[in-house]
């Protein structure tokens, strides 16, 4: 007899414990799966072992998400209780689960409720894991005291005497400098450095980690420890912070300032001060004064300055620059306050461990999170980092199988000979590919798959663990060629088996082109960190390495140019020079003229000093200025800072002018309507339009659609199907894909054409949304003997890129593809504070965990200040021109076909054309399905809409009777948010359009389409009848070296679904299967989409 799921989780026998959930679920009935969920729920409530509890939660989540919906007998449509949803948003997961289970008892199981239960259990599982890591971080020895300290009088830390200058020379405080390496991971054994994995599966948590010095090839003279942190006492009772790379400075005068992470770009420095215990976490909101606290630590009337510098190493390098910077900052603060014994020189092993533990704490405080190997730059040279089983006495004992902190084994020359190290350095080309990525979802996927023991992934994980020994042996033997092969195999094999999304089109092309350029001399590819595209390694035969450095830069630049409209890049690629750092983190005490901060520090600070009278300068400022002047006379790096310093004093306006010109040009070229824009601004400022005004009146009656209101497309109807097939054979159908958007959620506002994003592999290689849609049309054409014309509607943001790409692909295989260029454009506005508050406070928001919530609060306060200071309703122009413009909603897409002549051209080429199928670019399952086409043709309606039974993640309105009329209603137009939860069906935005009836609705006929004046007037008249919504969109602003800020900006839009509210428009509605109507809005959905069979379904619709 097969063991039950509870037995599997609790088993001490590895073979039983590691049983894959999907294997267990195979062949089970709906009732058996529901019974298993009930049993698991009872088990996880009584079980005390953390990881068993968490595994039970993941089992329930996976059954509800994947295995129940796959059961044919499960009811599809249901409702999510609104109070359960609110609990979920407020992170009250247990309450949410109770509400959903009660609803399941009352109304029976459904796909809708299964999605809600899956989401709640999934979130509770991650919350439980995160809480445990936090508790462990807090209770780690050496950290706990900081959470007890609540009053300045209790602060026991004192700055070392060596850092306090003689009283008569207050300006001459010595400078403590920490120089720290960054780390590369040769292999991380399938993300086994995630805390959760290391703490549950310590024997599988293994990393080969190398500390390196870095320089940018062609820019820096030689590699050096890239991370620098400086600490010095100052004669002012404040904390001064400066990040040289970010060009940011701040003076912290209160304790609240220290805990305000989001206010500026100095959150990392603040987290370091807190994690180092100088302003301990326990003192937050105590009402104590910072000066009082500093008086105890540094002496009366004194404070300190903390300066960071990463020597312009770009963000996202996958070399853990920020964690190692945090480590360096914490290290220098702990040295200064005698928490570690060594004031100067390298740290001892216990010292490195406590700094690493504090860095974990600092990352938690700052609301971010790294892997447990990330502070590897504190250690010297090459080391093996492994999970450690928890033993009695460890705070983790009895809670998790492994400890929070791993064990570091330094691999000295006896394990990795000097010659082998040299060979590695002579073959490796280290690069930053320039892509900006969010690794967070990947880490969640890896954790979930591990806990579910998904079959192929679990086998891959075990293979990856074994690979490490192979890699270690090859490195020790100095066989770099074989090492390159093993690393490539690891990337191609285990890593992509566990998470297919670690690779992307860019990476694949780079590997392909490196191989083409260097043939046998290209020895291998090496992924750094959580995913590829950013920091990466390419291994070459040593005699060609120098050539490869130059060539790889060219290849990367060319490939980036090719793909930059479809993949999110944060910066141009760079090639690094590197050297193994055999020191780890090292400190030095600098006095007198040696006590110099980085040259760029003076570049940024000196202009403000020079603008003031000499007598007004403080003694610190005068001292700094004098020291800098002396340094500028005889140190080249300081001499070089002088012109930049003068530039800062007399800023040039050249750059700003050209950007403004370009924006004006783009507005003019894309049909910007200045008069309409001014009207919108006036209305927005006056409060006539805004987020609150998007809503229908509160008295509006909103009712759910009744079952008889829609056609159920899942029931087969041979007659309709035959009618549809006949229409397809006659060539009466064309497909329209909305491709004007830039995937605000898909790439978090990176501004790439979503249609061109090569998001997943089909038929052996990465394909974009546009390619998939064309493949479906291609297949349809082959099946019915008539090509299906395909139109992509574009915008100023996407037109050129899509045109270029489709010219390359579509023309080659005879597809009839047209682009419909959008000629409506808006200029984004700085939002009103009123709308910001409405968005943050009046609409349902996902509550984040404690620290992230604090961070978000702080960022929001800063954004509200930005809106006030930039001017509410002012034109948003502080970004690249493309990011300042916005498309004006998909309502315009179909009317644009009429206006811009595309429809006329289509009809001219194919007069028999009767129906358009319009859909979103991310609705991958949408096809010209004969059954649905037959239904629509038989309905006699103008527009036919496809809806799907709602899941909890489907937000944005749905099908409703609004004051008695069956129509689609947008979520932002519903009078109350909870109204949405009473609606069973969610709109897919896939729409069948009867061309002639639509033209009639617009007051047009086919032969009038050539009359531009008439079509424009018809569109304008109809546009006036549909509502205009104000929305806030997150827009990225890129700056510095791969840095990004996100701003919410106001824009307006009209939506096609509102055509259902136009009285004389005849609409019909059909419910379609989830696989047809599912939209992909977020890259985090990809894994679930692949696992639930949707990807395979889409593949089955395509013809390549």
């Amino acid at each position: 007899m097969r063991p039950g799921l509870v037995e599997i989780i609790g088993s001490e026998v590895p073979a039983v414990r590691d049983t894959a959930l999907e294997l267990w679920c195979e062949g089970r009935s709906l009732d058996e799966l529901l019974a298993a969920c009930r049993e698991l729920d009872a088990y996880r409530r009584r079980e005390t072992n953390l990881y068993r509890r968490v595994r039970a939660l993941f089992f329930i989540a996976a059954i509800q998400r994947y295995h129940l919906p796959a059961q044919p007998g499960l009811t599809r449509a249901g409702r999510v209780p609104h109070d359960g949803f609110r609990h979920l948003l407020e992170r009250r997961f247990e309450e949410a689960i109770s509400v959903f289970l009660r609803a399941q008892d009352e109304t029976g199981p459904s796909e809708t409720l299964a999605s809600a239960l899956a989401a709640a259990h999934h979130a509770l599982a991650f919350q439980t894991l995160a809480d445990q890591v936090r508790r462990t971080v807090r209770s780690t020895r050496g950290n706990a005291w900081m959470f007890r300290l609540g009053h300045p009088e209790d602060q026991p830390l004192r700055v070392r005497r060596e850092l306090l200058a003689p009283a008569e020379e207050p300006a001459e405080f010595p400078l403590l400098r920490e120089l720290t390496a960054v780390r590369m991971d040769l292999t991380h054994c399938g993300w086994s450095d995630i805390f959760f994995l290391g703490m549950d599966f310590p024997e599988g948590a293994r990393v080969l980690n190398v500390s390196i010095d870095l320089g940018v090839h062609g820019r820096d003279a030689a590699p050096r420890p890239p991370v620098e942190a400086y600490f010095r006492v100052i004669p002012e009772p404040v904390i001064r912070l400066a990040s040289v790379d970010l060009g940011a400075q701040a003076v912290l005068a209160t304790i609240d300032d220290v805990f305000d992470f989001g206010r500026d770009h100095l959150g990392l420095l603040k987290a370091a001060i807190i994690a180092a215990g100088i302003v301990p976490p326990g003192i937050e909101r105590s009402g104590a004064g910072l000066a009082e606290l500093l008086a105890g630590v540094c002496g009366h009337g004194r404070g300190f300055e903390l300066v960071s510098n990463v020597n312009r190493i770009p963000k996202g390098s996958r070399l853990a620059v920020s964690t190692n910077l945090l480590g360096a900052l914490i290290g220098v603060c702990m040295r200064a306050t005698a928490q570690i014994g060594s004031l100067t020189g390298p740290m001892t092993e216990p010292e490195r461990r406590i700094v690493a533990a504090r860095a974990i704490l600092g990352e938690w405080l700052g609301g971010s999170g790294g892997g447990w190997q990330d502070s590897g730059g504190l250690w010297p040279g090459i080391k093996l980092i492994e999970g450690t089983p928890a033993s009695p006495g460890d705070p983790e004992h009895g809670v998790s199988r492994g400890c929070l902190l791993p064990r570091h084994t330094l691999l000295g020359p006896d394990r990795i000979p000097v010659e082998a190290r040299r060979r590695l350095q002579e073959s490796l080309v280290l690069v930053h590919g320039g892509m900006a990525q969010n690794v967070g979802p990947i880490l969640e996927m890896a954790t979930e798959k591990y806990l579910l023991r998904c079959g192929p992934e679990w086998a891959a994980r075990r293979q990856a663990v074994a690979t490490l020994d192979e890699i270690l042996a090859l490195l020790a033997a100095g066989d770099i060629k074989a090492l390159g092969r093993a690393l490539t195999d690891n990337f191609r094999g285990p890593l992509q088996s566990i998470i297919p999304w670690v690779s992307n089109r860019y990476t694949e092309l780079l590997i392909e082109r490196a191989r083409a350029a260097f043939g046998e001399d290209f020895w291998g590819f090496w992924m750094l960190g959580g995913m590829s595209g950013g920091g990466m390694g390419f291994i070459f035969a040593p005699h060609r390495r120098t050539e490869a450095q130059q060539r790889m830069l060219e290849i990367m630049l060319a490939t980036k140019r090719e793909l930059e409209s479809s993949l999110p890049f944060a910066m141009d690629p760079v090639v690094y020079d590197f050297a193994i750092n055999e020191q780890g983190s090292v400190a030095a005490l600098l006095r007198g003229d040696e006590a110099l901060l980085p040259a760029a520090y003076y570049e940024q600070a000196a202009p403000a000093w020079l603008r003031r009278e000499a007598r007004d300068l403080s003694s610190r400022e005068r001292g700094d200025l004098q020291r800098f002047t002396r340094a500028a006379r005889n140190r080249p790096e300081f001499t070089r800072a002088l012109p930049a310093l003068l530039d800062r004093m007399l800023p040039s306006a050249d750059g700003a002018g050209s950007a403004a010109d370009q924006l004006e040009r783009m507005l003019a070229e894309n049909g910007f309507d200045r008069a309409q824009h001014e009207q919108i601004r006036t209305d927005l400022r006056a409060g006539r339009i805004g987020l609150a005004m998007n809503r229908l009146p509160a008295s509006t009656r909103i009712e759910d659609a009744a079952p008889g209101d829609l056609f159920d497309s899942t029931s087969t109807n041979a007659t309709l199907r035959l009618a549809g097939e006949a229409a397809l054979r006659r060539g009466e159908v064309a497909v329209v894909t909305y491709a004007a958007g830039v995937g605000s959620r898909w790439t978090q506002g990176a501004g790439v054409a979503k249609a061109l994003h090569p998001f997943a592999k089909f038929d052996g290689r990465h394909r974009s949304f546009a390619e998939v849609h064309l493949a479906k049309s291609r297949r349809s054409g082959r099946e019915f003997g008539q090509p299906v014309p395909h139109v992509f509607t574009t915008s100023h943001l996407t037109h050129a890129a899509i045109e270029r790409r489709l010219a390359e692909t579509a023309a080659a295989d005879g597809l009839e593809v047209r682009l419909s260029a959008g000629k409506s454009i808006g200029l984004r506005l700085v939002p009103t504070v009123r709308d910001l508050h409405f968005a943050w406070e009046e609409t349902a928001q996902q509550r984040l965990d404690e620290q992230k919530e604090k961070m978000r609060g702080s960022v929001r306060a800063a954004l509200a200040n930005w809106a006030r200071s930039a001017g509410e309703g002012a034109d948003y122009t502080e970004n690249t021109p493309a990011q300042c413009l916005h498309p004006v909603g998909h309502w315009f897409e179909i009317p644009n076909l009429i206006k811009n002549g595309t429809l006329a051209a289509l009809l001219a080429a194919r007069p028999q054309l009767k129906v358009l199928l319009a859909h979103n670019v991310d609705t991958l399952g949408a096809t010209a399905d004969p059954g649905l086409l037959g239904w629509f043709l038989s309905s006699g309606a103008t527009l036919g809409w496809e809806v799907i039974p709602r899941r909890i993640e489907d937000h944005g309105g749905g099908l409703a009777r609004v004051d008695g009329r069956l129509r689609l209603v947008e979520g932002l137009a519903l009078p109350r948010e909870e109204d949405e939860f009473a609606l069973t069906y969610y709109s897919t935005n896939t729409c069948w359009i009867d061309i002639d009836r639509l033209l009639a609705l617009f007051g047009l006929k086919r032969d009038e389409l050539a009359d531009a004046g008439r079509t424009a007037a018809a569109v304008r008249a109809m546009a006036a009848r549909v509502p205009t919504y104000v929305t806030l969109k997150d827009v990225k602003k890129r700056w510095g070296h791969g840095q990004e800020d996100v701003f919410p900006v106001a824009q307006f839009e009209k939506l096609w679904g509102d055509m259902t509210a136009v009285p004389e428009c005849a609409n019909v509605f059909a419910t379609v299967p989830r696989q047809r109507g599912q939209q992909l809005k977020d890259q985090a959905q990809l894994d679930g989409w692949a696992r639930d069979g949707s990807a395979a379904h889409v593949e089955s619709l395509c013809g390549w």
Partner: protein, 280 residues
């Protein structure tokens, strides 16, 4: 084992006048701090008194010894080379026998009829071991004292086996190395300024002094070594020590002495009056 001698260190050049400060003892008699310390020892049965002082302080200190003046031998510390070095200066006075060691800037106040020094000596004699008096101290004051890590021996007394000794640790270090099971969270066993030491401590001090001749020599490193080599116990004495060198230390010591003696009501009354009439 008999403890006959006491070695008092009072040679801190920055605190030369501290032992000379006058306090009122629990019986209402004015005494110097040094005299209070020496009488603590005398009350515990000590017969010979040695005080390590800065050169030149002998006569002033002799004046401050009260009735014990003639029984005290002053030992000058030629140069300020650390607390451990001051103890080492007493080697010839102590000779080859166990002794009581007190610091001149800490005043002990017992919570029982038995003085702190007597409590300590009784345990040392009973256990035939080196014993340091300790007091559970909040982590916020850790950086003012030496502290020990170890485990409870058991039995009726709050007696601990010392495993490590660190001088003025930060709480970061203390949490990693000095956790003592059974103590309240955030409390550590810190020195009371009172030890019963064997003569072997001099050998250890000498060894450490030779290893790092240029650094000030502390007592805690020697006690740390001692704990690794011999049985070293720590007794949480029923009393409190007052560091008169700390800000307001002398005031608190005086209050503690007064409130434990004859003039308790008088002092309390004055305090209440002070509290009630505070001017803005």
């Amino acid at each position: 084992m008999k403890i006959r001698k006491v070695l008092v260190t009072a040679a801190n050049p920055r605190q030369r006048t501290l032992p000379l400060q006058t306090l009122i003892d629990p019986r209402g008699e004015p005494k110097s701090a040094l005299q209070v310390v020496l009488e603590e020892a005398a009350g515990a049965g000590i017969e010979e008194f040695g005080v390590v002082v800065c050169p030149g302080d002998e006569s002033a200190y002799a004046e401050a010894c009260g009735a014990l003046r003639d029984r005290v031998r002053f030992i000058p510390q030629p140069a300020a080379r650390g607390y451990g070095h001051a103890v080492l200066c007493g080697r010839s006075f102590i000779g080859d026998e166990p002794f009581l060691h007190l610091v001149g800037d800490h005043l002990p106040v017992s919570h029982t009829a038995t003085s702190c020094a007597r409590q300590l000596i009784e345990v040392a004699v009973a256990e035939d071991a080196t014993v340091s008096a300790v007091q559970p101290t909040r982590e916020s004051q850790l950086t003012a004292f030496g502290a020990v890590g170890g485990r409870l021996v058991g039995g009726e007394r709050p007696l601990y086996q010392v495993e490590s000794v660190l001088e003025k640790p930060t709480p970061t270090v203390a949490e990693q190395q000095l956790i003592v099971p059974g103590l309240r969270a955030g409390f550590y066993l810190c020195f009371f300024g009172m030890h019963v030491l064997g003569p072997e401590v001099f050998g250890l001090l000498e060894e450490l002094g030779r290893a790092e001749p240029d650094r000030p020599l502390g007592l805690s490193p020697a006690l740390h070594l001692l704990a690794a080599r011999r049985r070293h116990l720590a007794l949480s004495v029923a009393g409190r020590r007052f560091d008169i060198g700390a800000p307001y230390g002398l005031l608190f010591a005086q209050l503690a002495l007064s409130l434990s003696g004859r003039d308790r009501d008088r002092v309390l009354t004055q305090l209440v009056e002070l509290l009630a009439t505070r001017a803005d």
